[in-house]
């Protein structure tokens, strides 16, 4: 099956994502980072100006950090330790199953989230890696190509399986997953894999009103956007109400799973303005944070 989103028109949301990145960024604060040198306080000892601790000198230590005032007072060499400054690692996974793009608004929101994460990462001088997740397999996205507007998306073959088991997460990286979670097995295949020891992961879930509160009535021939499966269903108000309840329950369970695995799950509606959606849906949860 050809990817339904391989369309240049869908790249337009990048502008809105950049605009949103002026106001918000991924939640880098309140987290101990490890990694290459950068602008963010690391978990280890480094060469920043933030004092961290004192310890006795050990042979091999850099003599520049000997606390000479202390030596004058005590006669013993004492090292003055400063906090490390690192570049955060961000592992970004984008679910590219057709359901993410099967409505124009939802497709736009997906790309907005993706670009927002990349832009936020770039501005924070973090070290990003991105993967496209499709049919349970993930393929690394070349950031250079994305910068040039080429997405190199994988071919979708019709398998609706959603699983993060194959993602090569990096140690200590902020795990960000963009997916609509429209899979009955996401509880087993997504949340445990996204969970990162005791660190918080991020799950951004775009959704649109058509799937949350559809206006189906009477006979509807339904075509699954991923598998192509057909089904004719007669809808009346009661059945529609039960569908909405089921839909709500599905995401309540996802919320419950996310809490259990220390994952910040922010559902972002496609119909609202992107910036406003982030402000109302992601910011209160801590899924994004404002710039200082």
């Amino acid at each position: 099956m050809t990817s339904p989103f391989a369309d240049d028109r869908l790249v337009a949301p990048r502008g809105r994502a950049v605009e949103a990145a002026d106001h918000f960024r991924l939640p880098f604060r309140n987290r101990n980072w490890r990694g290459t040198a950068g602008n963010w306080s690391g978990a280890g000892v480094g060469s920043s100006i933030d004092f961290q601790d004192h310890r006795p000198y050990i042979a091999g230590d850099d003599p520049r950090y000997i606390n000479w005032q202390a030596y004058a007072r005590t006669g013993a060499y004492t090292m003055k330790l400063y906090r490390e400054e690192v570049s955060p690692r961000v592992d970004l996974v984008l679910d590219v199953s057709p359901s993410m793009f099967h409505r124009p608004a939802k497709a736009a929101r997906t790309w907005e989230l993706f670009h927002f994460c990349l832009e936020s990462t770039r501005r924070s001088q973090a070290a990003p890696r991105a993967w496209y997740l499709s049919e349970g397999e993930c393929r690394e996205a070349r950031l250079e190509a994305i910068e040039q507007g080429r997405f190199e998306l994988p071919e979708f073959k019709g398998d609706e399986r959603l699983s993060l088991r194959g993602v090569p997460w990096r140690q200590q990286a902020l795990r960000v997953f963009i997916s609509d979670l429209l899979d009955p097995r996401c509880g087993e295949e997504v949340f445990p894999c996204l969970s990162n020891e005791n660190k918080t992961s991020l799950l951004l879930a775009p959704y649109c009103r058509e799937e949350e509160a559809p206006d189906w009535s009477g006979n509807v021939e339904m075509l699954d956007c991923e598998t192509g499966e057909k089904r004719i269903q007669y809808f009346h108000s009661d059945l529609l109400r039960r569908y909405r309840n089921d839909y709500r329950r599905h995401f309540e369970m996802a919320d419950e799973q996310a809490r259990r695995h220390r994952i910040l799950l922010a559902r972002v509606p496609a119909e609202e303005d992107f910036l406003e959606a982030l402000r109302t849906r992601a910011l209160p949860l801590g899924a994004v944070e404002p710039w200082d």
Partner: protein, 587 residues
């Protein structure tokens, strides 16, 4: 309080319900949607698999409101009426007594199959119903009268039609009069729709059936042997094949197959064995069985004892040819009383006994004046031509008041019929010797008719073939014992001697006999020969109801209107408005 409808045709409005359902389903034509949440729908479907079709209907408010509106509209259209508790109606059920009905009812069947449902419907016309069961011939009077419908149905089930083609109008008029005013008459018949009377309810129960059967019998003596000749007719429009055989007391002939062309007739014939006085021709049975059996007996008319003129009588020569043509008579013995006699008489005197009495003109009378011969209207002179009669009346004489003149020349009588102390006399007032009367067919036939009358009036044993239901007209001793009809197809039927003239042959083909006390008066075979009743090509099933005005009048007399009708009307309006709102919202 019973419910009835003033306009049952309003029930057709219920036909709008399937139309509404159809429209609802057509409105909701399948729409195509690309979805990303099919797994949720499949989960729902598994939960609601049972009764899914009902769910579709239950929750469409506009659909249910429209159906409710149709029901309300139907209720208003059928004009519901509630029977008055004190309403009473009389219903006369007239059964067509023509034997053709046996093909459809009353011939071992449990009556007319449609009758119970029709009676149930009629009974709903009033709180109480008085039933009268009649038959169209009126022979057996009222078959049932009472208020028990089941009893009436039982009587109708046991009833058997027995009459040939007849006019049902008198019986129907009697039925209408007996239920007047405000009653109903139901005529159950197998006649054609076009023959059905108007103004009453008619239930046509006939249908075209392929019938074939015996339609006539002729017996004749040939070379001292009795030869029977029977006609078999196929009344249907297709070729029929039947098997026939003859049954005698000694045994049965070998069955033979015959092929009957459409509407064709086939003659069967044979000889009645010398030893057999009776036989039965049998045709393979079909739905109408009356004409499938033809019983016959060897005819044996009553023998007349005749006192013929002596050899030296002046009339002997003129009457010789007539006596030679006369059958079943014998000369009276010397001491024997004759049944009648041929004799001369003096017009001025009163002859004694039954017989034909001739006046002699001696000397010969003058030539007649040329006045025309005219005949009175009488069974003896019916259809006889007298213009060739050359006879001069004898001298004038006085006639008695009880005399019936049969023939006149001018104003003078030529033939006079007289009842003299119970004896029948035919007085001939012209001289047979000088007239040509003995060579005139009209005169000879009249003498035969007169002798047949005398033969019929004689109380004596006879054997003959008759039609089913034919009036027997048997001479019995009016002061004697009761007359009993014994037949092989029915119970013994005794009547008083005075009512013997009303006796009819049984309605079913078969042998029967008539007795007065110990005297056997008649042995006979009755066969069915009414071809109109055996022809079912035009029979049809139909139902005719009396005029709408009459039904309306009947209904209004026995019931009152539903006083909640205005409320239903308002409710209908409300439901329609609500339905419109709901459908608008659903859209």
């Amino acid at each position: 309080m019973g419910l009835t409808f003033g306009n049952p045709a309003g029930l057709w409005a219920l036909g709008a319900i399937p139309v509404i359902l159809l429209i609802h389903f057509l409105q909701r034509e399948t729409r195509r949607e690309s979805v990303s949440t099919l797994f949720l729908i499949e989960r729902l479907h598994r939960e609601t698999q049972k009764g899914r079709r009902l769910e579709r209907l239950r929750h469409s408010a506009s659909l249910w409101l429209q159906i409710l509106a149709v029901i309300l509209l139907t209720w208003l259209l059928v004009e519901p009426r509630w029977l008055r508790p004190d309403s009473v109606q009389r219903i006369a059920v007239v059964l067509d007594d023509s034997v053709s009905m046996r093909a459809f009812a009353g011939d071992g069947e449990a009556g007319v199959p449609e009758l119970p449902s029709v009676l149930r419907r009629l009974q709903r016309g009033a709180a109480e119903t008085e039933w009268i069961l009649l038959e169209s011939s009126g022979r057996r009077g009222t078959l049932y009268s009472g208020s028990d419908r089941r009893e009436l149905l039982e009587r109708a089930g046991n009833w058997r039609p027995q009459t040939g083609s007849h006019n049902a109008a008198p019986a129907l008029r009697r039925a209408i009069a007996s239920v007047h005013p405000g009653g109903s008459v139901l005529f159950v018949t197998d006649r054609r729709r076009g023959d059905a009377p108007e103004g009453i309810e008619v239930l046509g129960v006939g249908e075209p059936i392929a019938n074939a059967g015996f339609t006539g019998l002729r017996l004749e003596e040939r070379e001292g042997r009795l030869v029977w000749r029977a006609l078999v007719r196929n009344y249907s429009e297709q070729t029929e094949t039947r098997t026939w055989w003859a049954e005698f007391d000694e045994g049965t002939t070998k069955p033979e197959e015959i092929r009957l062309e459409p509407r064709g007739t086939l003659a069967l014939s044979g000889v009645l064995p010398e030893s057999a006085d009776r036989a039965a021709l049998v045709l393979e049975s079909d739905r109408f069985g009356l004409d499938d059996r033809l019983p016959l007996v060897r005819p044996a008319p009553k023998t007349l004892i005749l006192a013929a003129p002596d050899a030296d009588s002046p009339l002997r020569a003129e009457l010789t040819a007539f006596l030679d043509s006369l059958e079943h008579w014998r000369e009276a013995g010397p001491q024997e009383n004759a049944d009648f006699r041929f004799a001369t008489f003096n017009p001025a005197e009163d002859p004694a006994g039954s017989g034909v009495f001739f006046a002699l003109a001696d000397p010969a009378p003058p030539e007649h004046t040329g006045a025309p011969v005219t005949a009175e209207r009488h069974p003896l002179t019916e259809n006889l031509a007298w213009h060739g009669l050359d006879a001069a009346p004898v001298e004038t004489f006085p006639l008695r008041p009880e005399d019936t003149t049969l023939l006149w020349r001018g104003d003078q009588p030529l033939l006079v019929l007289r009842e003299n102390r119970g004896q029948k006399q035919l007085l001939v007032y012209f001289d047979l010797r000088t007239s040509n009367a003995d060579r005139l067919p009209a005169f000879v036939i009249l003498l035969h008719r007169f002798l047949d009358e005398l033969r019929g009036a004689k109380i004596a044993y006879a054997r003959r073939n008759v039609h089913t239901g034919q009036r027997l007209q048997l001479a019995v001793d009016p002061f004697g014992e009761a007359v009993t009809l014994r037949s092989e197809t029915g119970p013994e039927q005794p009547v008083t001697a005075s009512r013997a003239s009303l006796l009819r042959a049984p309605g079913d083909p078969g042998f029967f006999s008539l007795h007065q006390g110990d005297n056997l008066l008649l042995e006979a075979a009755a066969h069915f020969a009414d071809s109109r009743e055996a022809d079912f090509r035009d029979a049809e099933t139909f139902r005719l109801e009396p005029g709408r005005d009459r039904q309306r009048e009947h209904l209004e007399r026995n019931s009152h209107r539903d006083f909640l009708a205005p409320l239903w009307m308002l409710l209908l309006g409300g439901v329609l408005l609500l339905s419109w709102r709901c459908s608008d919202r659903e859209t």
